[in-house]
C-alpha cells in the first residue's frame, strides 16, 4: 500500500535569507534562484500589501476585475451597496476559476461553470445542485461550504485597492506610512471632484527578468543617461529642428527630452527612503516637473484649495513613489506601474493611466502619451531598459562574481534611520532600502 504524501509546507525548515543581503550588496541568487522565488511567493507576496487595482475599474454592481498575484488568483467585485469585496477567484468546490475575463460584469451572482455552484457577490455560497445529497455530510461545515475565501486584508485607499493575502502582518497604515500614502493623497487631490479614474486599457509587458530588477530600476537615476542615450539623442535632434517654442507645447517632446538629463539633474532631485522598502524619488524635482501649465485646470484647483496650496499640490511631481513590492506611482502624469512576478526570470509589468474624473482632455492626453511613449512594448525608451534587464538576468549566471554592487553612497549605520531624506537622488540607498524591506518580509519566523 502506498503511503500518503507527508504534509509539509513549502516553507519547511525556516530557511533564512540573511546571507543573501549585505549592507552594501546582494547575492545573485536573489534574482536567479527558483527556491528564493518559491519562498518569496510563500512569504513576501503573502505578507506584503499588494496593489490589486483601481476601484474605477468596477463602477457598477456586479462589475469585477481579476488579477494574478504571484500565483494567487484574485477578484474584486462591486457590491449592490457600493462597497467592494475581494476574494480568491476559486470555486469552493473543485477550484475552477469563476471569472475568466480580466474585467466584466457577473450580474447578480457568481456561478461556477463546472458544477453550477453559485455565490452571492460577497462570496457567500448561495446554492449547490443536488442539495439533498449533501445532507448528513460534513460539506456545509467544511471550508468548501463557507463560500469563497477572502485574502487576510483588503483596503480601498481613496480608490486604490490593496490586499494582504496573509491574515497576519502589519496593518495597512503602518505598512506604508504617511509619507508613501501622501503620494496617493496628492494624486487624488489633483481631481477637482476628489476622484480618479482609469484611462483606457493598461499597457502590458512581459519581461524576461526577475521582478526585483525592474523595481530597482524604478529607483535608478544613473541609468537614463547611458541606457536611454539613443532615445534622448534622437529626441534632442528632433527638438532642435522644431520651430522656436514648439518643443514646449508638444506633449511628446516635453516628455522625451528630459530623458537626456545629466547626472547632476538626478542628483539634485532629492529622495526619501521609507520603512518596509518604500521610497520617494524626486522629492524636489523630477523629469515631470517641467510640463506646460494648464491654466484652466489650475484655476479650478486654486478655487478649491487656494492658490498656494494648489501650487504646492501641483509642484509635487516625484519621479516615482515605490509601494514595495508591487507598484510605483507617478503623481504627474497620473500613472501607476504594477509588477506581477510570473517566475524567477519572468515579470509582467502593467502601466495604468489615471486621470481626475472630468479632467481636461489635455491631462488625459498627457498621461496617454507618456504611457505609450515610455511603457508600451513598442516604446523607444523601454526597449533599451527591457533589453538590459534581460541581459542582466542572463549575465548574472556567469561565474567570477556572485554579488551585485549597491555601494554607491553607502554609509555605515545608514540602516539605523528607517526614514531618511536624501539630498542626492543618485544614492543607491533606495535599492539597499528595498532589500532591507525584502529581508523583513522574507523573515522565516
Amino acid at each position: 500500500m502506498s503511503q500518503p504524501m507527508p504534509m509539509q509546507p513549502p516553507d519547511a525548515g525556516g530557511e533564512s535569507m540573511a546571507g543573501l543581503v549585505q549592507a552594501d550588496r546582494v547575492h545573485r541568487d536573489l534574482y536567479l534562484s527558483a527556491r528564493v522565488y518559491e519562498l518569496e511567493r510563500e512569504r513576501l507576496w503573502k505578507r506584503a500589501w499588494v496593489f490589486l487595482g483601481h476601484d474605477s475599474l468596477v463602477p457598477k454592481t456586479g462589475d469585477y476585475y481579476t488579477a494574478q498575484i504571484a500565483g494567487q488568483s484574485l477578484a474584486m467585485l462591486r457590491q449592490a451597496d457600493g462597497t467592494l469585496a475581494v476574494m480568491f477567484n476559486r470555486c469552493a468546490h473543485k477550484g475552477s476559476r469563476l471569472l475568466h475575463e480580466r474585467q466584466g460584469n457577473t450580474g447578480k451572482f457568481l456561478r461556477c461553470p463546472y458544477h453550477a455552484w453559485t455565490y452571492k457577490l460577497d462570496g457567500k455560497l448561495m446554492s449547490v445542485p443536488l442539495k439533498n445529497d449533501y445532507e448528513g455530510t460534513g460539506m456545509s461545515a467544511s471550508p468548501s461550504g463557507q463560500g469563497l475565501a477572502a485574502p487576510g486584508g483588503v483596503r480601498n485607499y481613496k480608490g486604490f485597492v490593496f490586499v494582504r493575502i496573509s491574515g497576519a502582518g502589519l496593518d495597512f497604515d503602518r505598512y506604508f506610512g504617511s509619507t508613501a500614502l501622501a503620494t496617493l493623497d496628492n494624486m487624488v487631490a489633483r481631481s477637482p471632484l476628489g476622484e480618479l479614474e482609469v484611462v483606457g486599457a493598461p499597457l502590458r509587458n512581459v519581461i524576461r527578468c526577475n521582478w526585483k530588477m525592474y523595481l530597482e530600476n524604478i529607483n535608478d537615476t544613473v541609468h537614463p543617461i547611458s541606457t536611454h542615450e539613443s532615445a534622448a539623442t534622437a529626441a534632442a535632434g528632433i527638438g532642435k529642428s522644431l520651430p522656436e517654442g514648439d518643443a514646449g507645447t508638444s506633449l511628446a517632446m516635453e516628455q522625451l527630452l528630459p530623458f537626456g538629463a545629466g547626472y547632476s539633474f538626478y542628483s539634485d532631485m532629492g529622495a526619501k527612503v521609507l520603512p518596509n522598502g518604500h521610497s520617494v524619488l524626486g522629492t524636489k524635482a523630477s523629469i515631470h516637473s517641467g510640463y506646460a501649465p494648464l491654466p484652466e485646470y489650475e484655476a479650478e484647483l486654486a478655487a478649491r484649495y487656494g492658490a498656494d496650496q494648489a501650487r504646492a499640490l501641483l509642484s509635487f511631481s516625484p519621479q516615482n513613489t515605490v509601494f514595495y513590492p508591487s507598484a510605483a506611482f507617478k503623481t504627474s502624469p497620473s500613472l501607476v506601474r504594477v509588477l506581477r512576478p510570473l517566475g524567477p526570470d519572468r515579470t509582467l509589468v502593467e502601466a495604468w493611466a489615471l486621470a481626475p474624473k472630468g479632467a481636461p482632455q489635455r491631462l488625459r492626453q498627457r498621461v496617454a502619451s507618456y504611457a505609450r511613449l515610455v511603457f508600451s512594448p513598442m516604446s523607444v525608451v523601454a526597449h533599451d531598459d527591457v533589453h538590459l534587464f534581460e541581459s542582466q538576468q542572463i549575465g548574472l549566471g556567469s561565474d567570477g562574481n556572485e554579488w551585485v554592487s549597491l555601494h554607491r553612497g553607502h554609509q555605515a549605520g545608514e540602516a539605523q534611520s528607517p526614514e531618511l531624506a536624501l539630498e542626492n537622488g543618485n544614492n543607491e540607498i533606495m535599492m539597499r532600502n528595498q532589500y532591507r524591506g525584502w529581508l523583513r518580509l522574507m523573515d522565516p519566523a
Partner: protein, 161 residues
Amino acid sequence: MMQAPADADLTRLIYQEARLIDQGRFDEWYALYAEDGLYWMPLAPGQHSGLDEPALMYEDKMLLRLRLDRMKDPRAHSLHPAVRCLHVLQAPEVTGRDAAAAHYTLSTPFIYVETQGDTQHILAATAEHELIGTPQGLRIKTKKVLLLNCDAALPAIQLLP
C-alpha cells in the same frame, strides 16, 4: 487631372511598404507617408482614439522620425544583436475607393515575425491603410495595425509590424 489608381497600384504600395521595413530601408519607407501621416497600433479591440487613451503606438511623422533616428544610433542597445523582421501578407483588399477625393482604404491580414539572436516572436495582425493621392503619387495617410493579441502581455516589439 490625375488618373485614378487601379487596385493593383494601391496594393503594390502595401507590398512595397512591408518589403522596405523587412529590408531595413527605413528612410525610403518613411518617404511613403504623407506629411500628416500616422502610424497607430491600438491597445484594445475597437479603440476609438489613440490620443485620448494609451495605445501601443500612435506616432505622427515627427515621432516616426525620432524612432528611425534612434535606430541608427550605435547606442540603441536593444538592437544588438541586430533585429530582423518579416511580414507575410495576405492579399490586400481594397475596402474603399473615393477617386474624387483621391482617398482609398485597404485591409491586409498578415503575420509578422521578429527575430534577434536565438529568440523569435510571431504576431498576427490586420493592417488598415488609408492611402491618398498627392502630386508626388500615392502616400500613406494612416496605417492602423490591429494586433490580434493587442491586449495581451507582450514582449518588446522593436521594429514595425
